[in-house]
Each structure stands twice: as structure tokens, then as C-alpha cells.
């Protein structure tokens, strides 16, 4: 049974008040991590630096200093965040042994508020995947059924939170990589508006799509973590100002008169019937509580997936160019020529999925193919953005499933990359449009596997999105 944690704000205020200590919380988290090794959700140990930070925070408290809203709260970061105290390798062999000389802005923000990173979570290498089976350090096992995947690519983070190894974890979401594993594992996963959290110090996948967000046990915790790490960052030119009013505490919005649009295309018969019926029950409850429900069409939904699998690999192929074995990470000291050095470092260092995406990306950017693929995909992206804008003129929020299935069996889709890509059909649109979206658990299927509900809002409506999610949480299942 998963370990329990109090709400994050409460934990921090207890540390500040002296009724518990940072050291105690960190030790508890480290102990739980050690006991849950069989799930393989954590791949890098940061216990030494975490205990040192905990001690410093406890000394601050003892001196009567105010530490911050996350005082002493342990957390786990996905392994694509650069964090001091250990390796950062994005679960890829090509970065094995890489010790970051600087730290992600998001980590700095959380540390400034008193949070302590205790470990790094397993993931699909370079965040390429939807099952965590693409990790070079072994698959993560689902917290409720070890024969199943936890989703991906932030599978380690979602599993760790579901297992209660820490009160919260950080993930990254390029095409659903926070929301889908959160949905599979029955926890809350937030992908904020593009640019709301700095990408500086986070290993890039698709730079125009990548978002950083929390995975938590409840909506309020997500709001608090977002509140701490959001806003403009001089190290990331794509960041935006945070809401002046902030994101925490969430405001209990009355559901009455909220206009919620159900995305028609997301309820096709390719979505498991258990998922459809669970969501329909949630929608009925919303209606019963006074929300105005309507049905909204996003005709470009299917095109969005195709367009995502052009734009994303294009950016991946570009972003992975720096891993060339010349300055850091995996290299081949036996190579006798420059070409051999490149070919062996990248050939041996990258896994299958990274190579597949590099090949696709290189192809769609090649002269003669650029217009037919990349440029056309960018046009579709604009069309999709327009469809969302139109939709948000008539409704405040959009609602739908996260994925067509609940957690699937390990190995079930790993031999068929296309099947794996198709599972992203309902999550990629939010990334292409840069809008905030989250996953909140609303039930289980006939096997007892969690089902997540996806909520989306217009750009910069993150606060409203969290408020609504809070209300849904309160409705109960």
C-alpha cells in the first residue's frame, strides 16, 4: 500500500513550526525509495546532498529564520532535470557519467522555497516514449500491477508519487508525458501553459513543445508547486510572466455556469469503453452540479498527431546534435578518426527510439522534403491553434480522456512504435497549441487500473484550470 503524506503546504508549515524536521522527512522519503526498488522508478540517488540540505534547513528553522513555502519538503525530479549532487543522464547511456555543472532554473526555484530533491526518476531515454520501456536503465513497473507500464515518459515520476515515495515529483510533458503517466498511475499531472515554467537546465526534447510540471497526490499540491516555479526566467527567452494573483491556494469555484466543452473526437470507439463510461459519469456529475456542458469539435485532432510526429522529431534531431561524444557523456576513446568518433559515440550511446526520431527528424528537415513535411506540419499546427481559439470563445474549458487505454502490459506495444505513437492522440494537441492541460484521477476500470480525466483551458488560464480541477476532486468519484 502506498505511503501517505500530508498536503505539501502542511508539511512545510510543520517543518517551519518545528513539529517535524526536514531531516526526518528526507529520511522517510529515502527509506521509502529504498523499500520500493523493485519498481525501478528511481535511478539516481541524491541522498548525500539531500541530507545535507535538510540539515541546513533544520538549522535555519532552529535559528528562527523563515525558510519558505516548501520548507523541508522532499521531491523527486525526472532525470532530464539538471540537479546538483549526482548524475543527470535523461535515462540515456550517451549521458552516463555526466555531472551537471549548473542546475535547472525550476530546481533552483524549488530549492529557494526550501524543497529538497532526494532522487532522480526513471524515464524513457530523452523522454521519447509513453511507457518508460525506452529507458536505458530498465522499465518502471506500474505501482498497482508490476506486469504493466506506468506510462511515460515521466513514468518514474508518476509511479514514485503513486507509491508515495515523496510528496511530489517533477515531470516534463512534450506530447503528454506528464498527463498520461499521471492518468495511468492515478495521480494529478499538470502541463502548464507553454513558457510558464523555465526550460533552462532541462534536457530538451522538442523545444517548442516541452513543458515542465508537477506530479502530485492532489490538485492543491500541484498549484503550490506551480506557484513556486513559474514565471519569467532570464535564462529562457520563451518564458512568460506568471499570474499576478499566483496559483496557490486554489479557489473553490462554484461549478454553476462554468462552460465546459466535451471534445467529440476524443470519445471515438477507439477509446476503451470503461474510460468513456467513467468520464461520462464525471461529466454527468459536473452537469448535476450546475456546469453548462456542450459538445465541441476539434476537426484537426487526427492531423494533430501526424503533425506532432513531424515537428517533434525535427526538433529532437536538432536538439540531440550536441550529444556527439566530444565534450561530455559517452564517447569512444578507441576511435581513430573524427567520423568514427561521432558514429560510434552516437551509434552506441543512443537507444533505438532516439535513433528512430533522429532519422525521422533529419528526413523531414532535409532539403527537398522540408516544405512537404515540416512546413506543412507547421501550417496544421496553426490551424489547430485556431480551432482551440474558436472553441475557447464558446467554452471556458475542454474535457476528454487522456489516453485510449489504461496502463497496458509491459512489452504489449514496445515492438510497434506506431501503436505507441497512436496512444498520444489526445495529449499532443495541448502541446502543439501551448495551452495548459492536466490529468486528474476520476475512477478505475474493470481491472482496477486508474482512469484520468483531461482538462484543458486557454493559454495562461492555468489558475482557472487548477480551480476547476479542485472542484472536480471535491466531487469525489
Amino acid at each position: 500500500m502506498a505511503a501517505d503524506w500530508e498536503p505539501i503546504a502542511q508539511l512545510a508549515s510543520r517543518v517551519q513550526a518545528g513539529s517535524t524536521t526536514a531531516t526526518e522527512l528526507v529520511k522517510r522519503s529515502l527509506k521509502l525509495i529504498a523499500e520500493a526498488q523493485e519498481y525501478n522508478s528511481v535511478i539516481i540517488d541524491l541522498s548525500a546532498s539531500a541530507l545535507k540540505r535538510a540539515q541546513l534547513i533544520d538549522q535555519q528553522v532552529a535559528r528562527g529564520e523563515t525558510v519558505g513555502v516548501l520548507a523541508g519538503v522532499p521531491f523527486i525530479a525526472k532525470d532530464n532535470f539538471l540537479v546538483f549532487g549526482g548524475e543527470t543522464k535523461a535515462a540515456s547511456k550517451i549521458l552516463s557519467g555526466f555531472i551537471p555543472p549548473y542546475q535547472a532554473s525550476a530546481i533552483n526555484a524549488l530549492e529557494s522555497a526550501g524543497a529538497i530533491c532526494v532522487a532522480k526518476a526513471n524515464m524513457d531515454a530523452f523522454a521519447h516514449g509513453a511507457s518508460t520501456e525506452n529507458s536505458d536503465y530498465g522499465v518502471v513497473k506500474h505501482p498497482f500491477d508490476q506486469t504493466r507500464v506506468p506510462g511515460g515518459s515521466s513514468g518514474g515520476s508518476a509511479a514514485a508519487v503513486a507509491l508515495g515515495l515523496a510528496p511530489f515529483a517533477l515531470g516534463t510533458d512534450t506530447g503528454g508525458s506528464i498527463r498520461q503517466p499521471a492518468s495511468f498511475c492515478g495521480v494529478v499531472g499538470l502541463k502548464p501553459t507553454y513558457g510558464l515554467v523555465s526550460r533552462s537546465g532541462v534536457i530538451a526534447m522538442g523545444s517548442s513543445l516541452d513543458c515542465i510540471g508537477p506530479i502530485t497526490r492532489n490538485v492543491s499540491d500541484s498549484a503550490l508547486v506551480l506557484d513556486v516555479m513559474s514565471g519569467r526566467d532570464a535564462l529562457d527567452a520563451t518564458t512568460i510572466e506568471r499570474d499576478e494573483a499566483g496559483y496557490f491556494p486554489i479557489k473553490k469555484t462554484p461549478l454553476k455556469k462554468l462552460k465546459i466543452g466535451v471534445i467529440k473526437e476524443y470519445f471515438s470507439d477507439q477509446v476503451d469503453s470503461d474510460i468513456r463510461s467513467t468520464l461520462e459519469a464525471s461529466i454527468s456529475k459536473l452537469k448535476a452540479n450546475g456546469a453548462e456542458i456542450s459538445y465541441v469539435s476539434l476537426p484537426s485532432t487526427e492531423l494533430a498527431l501526424a503533425c506532432y510526429y513531424i515537428i517533434c522529431p525535427a526538433e529532437v534531431s536538432s536538439n540531440l546534435s550536441r550529444y556527439d561524444g566530444q565534450r561530455y557523456g559517452y564517447s569512444n576513446p578507441q576511435a581513430t578518426t573524427l567520423d568514427e568518433s561521432y558514429v560510434t559515440a552516437r551509434g552506441q550511446g543512443f537507444g533505438k527510439e532516439a535513433k528512430r526520431r533522429i532519422m525521422i527528424g533529419t528526413f523531414v528537415l532535409s532539403s527537398g522534403y522540408y516544405d512537404a513535411y515540416y512546413k506543412k506540419a507547421m501550417t496544421v499546427r496553426t490551424k489547430l491553434i485556431n480551432e482551440f481559439e474558436t472553441a475557447f470563445k464558446s467554452v471556458d474549458f475542454l474535457i476528454g480522456p487522456i489516453a485510449p487505454t489504461t496502463a497496458f502490459k509491459i512489452g504489449e506495444k514496445s515492438q510497434d512504435p506506431l501503436q505507441m505513437y497512436l496512444a498520444d492522440v489526445m495529449t499532443v494537441a495541448a502541446n502543439l497549441a501551448g495551452i495548459p492541460a492536466l490529468s486528474i484521477p476520476v475512477g478505475v476500470d474493470s481491472l482496477g487500473l486508474p482512469i484520468g480525466l483531461q482538462l484543458m483551458a486557454a493559454q495562461r488560464q492555468d489558475a482557472a484550470l487548477l480551480n476547476l480541477a479542485g472542484a472536480i476532486e471535491d466531487m469525489g468519484n
Binding site: N80, F81, L82, T88, A90, L95, F98, P100, P101, Y102, A104, R199, S200, G201, V202, I203, A204, G206, S207, S208, A234, L235, D236, A237, T238, A314, E315, S317, S318, L320, S321, R322, Y323, D324, Q326, R327, Y328, L338, Y342, T362, L365, S366, S367, Y370, Y374
Partner: protein, 485 residues
């Protein structure tokens, strides 16, 4: 050179912008005296997770460059990634402006052998430089210095509108002056602050021939020589009935020839794509106007200012270059202060061109005088010359001596006196010497009395020599003529 073919030349110039920090990182941009790999941060090194952040100072310089090129900067421009693998390119791509550059259009005007020429500018774009690779001879290793990685460049692309090596050289020289005067670059050619790639093709028709591109030339002389070499090489190939292949060549300074580096067949596909880390550059008209108002005077402004002096092109070029190289002195402003009297200004230019500037450029660093003292120095020397106390030789020596003083002496006349530079203008003293010279040269005296006035010059020379060069030559002439009447 064969005249059967008409050469066409286009030039790409990489201008290193004089920003304090790099184009996309906070690392120091001035690598001229730095140890290798000391001016490198996580962005320049291409560490995982590092993001480029645009340096607005480079934008300001690009706008200045646009105005100097008689162009208007684009209000909206974007950055793209250009991909290739090389150890001095840490991210595996260069950030450049491929699709929508900051400058479209423009022109450079200059004179060549008295004729006005105009070369159009196709475009100019911002981009980051790569690091520097060196391959020590006889060694199996290569060295990479990333100090230069991320340095901001403005690549200025000319229209293929030049037709001789001399014209191309004149274009690059004027471009250099424009970029220096617009205060866009340090313009240190030795350190590669401006590098030129020259495209040369030959044709007998209106259609352009196949071109070669000779890259990385870092002097005007190399530009001229490489083009001349290419014209000759391609002419010979065409004469022999052979085809020109499109290729990239390099200039071998030691052998004074271009050498093939890469042909089109193995050219890279750069897979350009918009850089998702960098939002578009958006500027407004007010921003441009502010920069326009603060734009320093350009070479043409000074050419106009000095037009009354009717100087030749070489003199103006020399002054324009010295003016910018020794900015603290400000030669143009100095000359301008004397312009109300054209003959004085001409004298000043003469002294600057023949005395001061060569001294300033000599490697001995003998000039010590503070910059602000120039006006006083030249006014005083002119005064002494005008009053006849100083010969032209004396003036030259006095200027040279004064330039070596850290400050002007309080009394220049007594300084000149002590240095034995003043002319002897005492009638009696000169007369004494003249009489002595006349006595010693009876033949010359006879010649003069016969009407051969040439001999007067000889006698003046003798007087000058006996007075150690100090006798006022005009006064000496008058006395000789009077005594021999």
C-alpha cells in the same frame, strides 16, 4: 589576364560585432587576449539544457549597420538553426537568420580611380560564430578553442555586381570604413574581426558562369589577390576547354594561390529550421529613429566636410582610417576646427599625413602627447611658421619633438629656441653670414651679376648651412639681392 571573359564577383563579409558579451550567452566577447577556452559558459559549451538568450546589444549594432548600408532594418526577423557536425560547433548547429534576416537590401558607395561606384547589398543577417579549430602540423591531434563560439557576427552579402579585383578590394575597404564608423565592430582584421568570402565566376554572355567561393580571407590585399588568382585560374581552364566546377576554395597565403577545399557534390544539407528557443526579433520605428539620431558621422559626412580642401582619394582614405584608429584624437574634428581658413587646413593635413600619422602608426610608440593638445600644438606651430620664425623643416622637427612630449610646454617658442629650431631673422646676424659666404664664393657672385639667378639658391644654401639651418631663407634671399644690386 584574358579579356575574353567578364568576371562577376559577389562578396560575403562576416563582421564581428563589438558587443560586451556573446550573441546568446553572458560570456565575454573579447577573445583577443584570452587564454583558450576561458570565455565559455554552459551555453557556448552546448551543455544539456542550455538555452540561448538573445543579446539586445547586438540588435542595436545591427540596426546601426543597416543605416550605414543605406538600408532600413526589418521590424520583424527570426532565427534559424543551421545543422552540421564539427568539434568547434558545440550544439551541432549554428544559430543564424536564414528565412527572415534583420537587413534586406542596401548599398555601398565608393570611388575607384575617381569613378563613383555602387554595390548593392542583398541581405545581412545576425549569426553566432563557431569556435576555432587548429591542426598542429605533424601532430595527430586537433585543438578546439571555444572562446570565439557564440561571438556575434553580421554576415553582409553583396549583390554579384563587381567585375574586377580592384573594385572588390575598394568595396571591402569602404565596407570596413562603414562598419568602423557606424561603431559596429572593432574591425581588427588581424584577429579576424572582418572575414571575407569571395564568389567569382566568369562568363562570355549575360548569364553568370559557375562560381567558386574562396573563404575566410582576412585582409583587403588577400581579397584582391585571391580574386585575381581565381580570374586567371578560371580563364585558363575555360581557354583549355575545361569546365569550372562549383566549389569552396581557400587562400594559401604562402603559395599565393587558392586551393580546393570542398566540391558541391559533398556539400552539407544544413537542414535549416526555425529556432524554437528564440522568439522573433521585433523592433519598432521609434527604436530605429533613436539609433539613427545617435548614429556617429559616417565616412561620407567627412568626405563632404573636407571637400573644400580638394584632397586626393588616398589622402582622404588615410585620414579616414587614422581618424577611426585613433579615435581619441579625432583627426577629422581637428581638421574641421581649422577649416575656416583653407590654406591653414591644408597645411595641417600636410603635417598630419606626412608627420603625425606615420609616427602614430610606427611601431616605436614614440608619440606621448595627450590627445587633447593637438589643436594647441598645430595652432602654435602655424603661428611660428607664419611669423617666419620657423622653416618648413623646422616645423617638421618641432612637431615631431612636441609629439614626443607628454604635454605641451608652456612656451612653445622658447621650447623651439632651446631645441635650436627657430629661424634666424636678425638682419645683422644674417648679413654677417651672407657677407662671409659672398667673399668665399666669388664665382657664384659673378654668375649672379651676369644674370644667372640660379646661383642665388646655391648661396642661400651656403648661408643655411653656416647658420645650422636656422637662417630665414626668405630674409637671406632679400639680403643677398640687396648686397649684389
Amino acid at each position: 589576364m584574358s579579356h575574353k571573359y567578364r568576371p562577376t564577383i559577389g562578396i560575403e563579409c562576416h563582421v564581428q560585432l563589438k558587443t560586451k558579451t556573446k550573441l546568446f550567452s553572458g560570456a565575454n566577447n573579447d577573445a583577443r587576449n584570452a587564454e583558450p577556452n576561458t570565455l565559455v559558459n554552459h551555453i557556448d559549451f552546448g551543455l544539456p539544457g542550455a538555452l540561448p538568450v538573445f543579446n539586445r546589444e547586438a540588435l542595436q549594432l545591427a540596426v546601426r549597420a543597416a543605416l550605414a548600408l543605406k538600408s532600413e532594418p526589418e521590424l520583424f526577423s527570426t532565427f534559424d538553426r543551421k545543422h552540421y557536425f564539427y568539434p568547434d560547433l558545440p550544439m551541432g548547429y549554428q544559430i543564424t537568420q536564414y528565412d527572415q534576416p534583420i537587413i534586406s537590401g542596401g548599398q555601398v558607395n565608393f570611388k575607384l580611380d575617381g569613378q563613383a561606384k555602387t554595390v548593392g547589398i542583398t541581405r545581412a543577417h545576425l549569426e553566432s560564430d563557431a569556435g576555432k579549430s587548429t591542426h598542429p602540423e605533424g601532430s595527430a591531434i586537433s585543438l578546439v578553442d571555444l572562446n570565439r563560439a557564440g561571438t556575434p557576427l553580421l554576415e553582409i552579402v553583396s549583390e554579384p555586381e563587381m567585375h574586377t579585383a580592384a573594385e572588390a578590394r575598394a568595396y571591402t575597404e569602404e565596407l570596413y570604413l562603414l562598419m568602423r564608423y557606424a561603431d559596429v565592430t572593432e574591425g581588427d582584421l588581424y584577429h579576424g574581426n572582418m572575414r571575407f568570402d569571395v564568389n567569382v565566376s566568369l562568363s562570355q554572355t549575360d548569364e553568370l558562369g559557375v562560381r567558386s567561393e574562396t573563404k575566410n580571407l582576412n585582409s583587403f590585399r588577400a581579397v584582391e589577390k585571391a580574386i585575381a588568382y581565381e580570374i586567371k585560374r578560371q580563364s585558363e581552364l575555360l581557354d583549355a576547354g575545361k569546365a569550372i566546377i562549383q566549389e569552396t576554395r581557400g587562400w594559401n597565403e604562402a603559395k599565393q594561390k587558392t586551393v580546393s577545399q570542398r566540391t558541391k557534390e559533398n556539400a552539407d544539407d544544413y537542414r535549416y529550421m526555425p529556432d524554437p528557443d528564440l522568439p522573433p526579433l521585433v523592433i519598432d520605428q521609434a527604436y530605429i529613429e533613436k539609433i539613427r539620431a545617435e548614429l556617429p558621422n559616417l565616412p561620407d559626412f567627412w568626405r563632404k566636410e573636407l571637400s573644400a580642401l580638394q584632397l586626393d582619394e588616398d589622402q582622404i582614405q588615410l585620414l579616414l582610417e587614422a581618424n577611426i584608429d585613433f579615435e581619441a584624437i579625432g583627426y577629422m574634428a581637428l581638421i574641421k576646427a581649422f577649416l575656416s581658413k583653407v590654406d591653414l587646413a591644408k597645411t595641417l593635413v600636410n603635417w598630419l599625413v606626412n608627420i603625425e600619422i606615420p609616427l602614430m602608426r610606427s611601431s616605436e610608440n614614440s608619440v606621448k602627447l595627450i590627445s587633447s593638445a593637438r589643436n594647441q600644438l598645430y595652432s602654435d606651430v602655424m603661428q611660428l611658421s607664419k611669423s617666419g620664425q620657423l622653416s618648413s623643416t623646422g616645423a617638421k622637427e618641432l612637431i615631431t619633438k612636441l609629439l614626443m612630449e607628454p604635454e605641451l610646454p608652456s612656451d612653445i617658442t622658447s621650447f623651439a629656441e632651446q631645441a635650436n629650431l627657430l629661424q634666424q631673422s636678425d638682419q645683422n646676424e644674417i648679413e654677417t653670414i651672407v657677407k662671409r659666404v659672398l667673399d668665399a664664393n666669388p664665382n657664384a657672385v659673378k654668375d649672379i651679376q651676369k644674370g644667372e639667378t640660379k646661383a642665388i639658391g646655391f648661396l642661400i644654401g651656403q648661408v643655411m648651412s653656416q647658420s645650422a639651418g636656422r637662417a630665414n631663407p626668405e630674409l637671406t634671399r632679400q639680403i643677398i639681392e640687396q648686397l649684389l644690386k
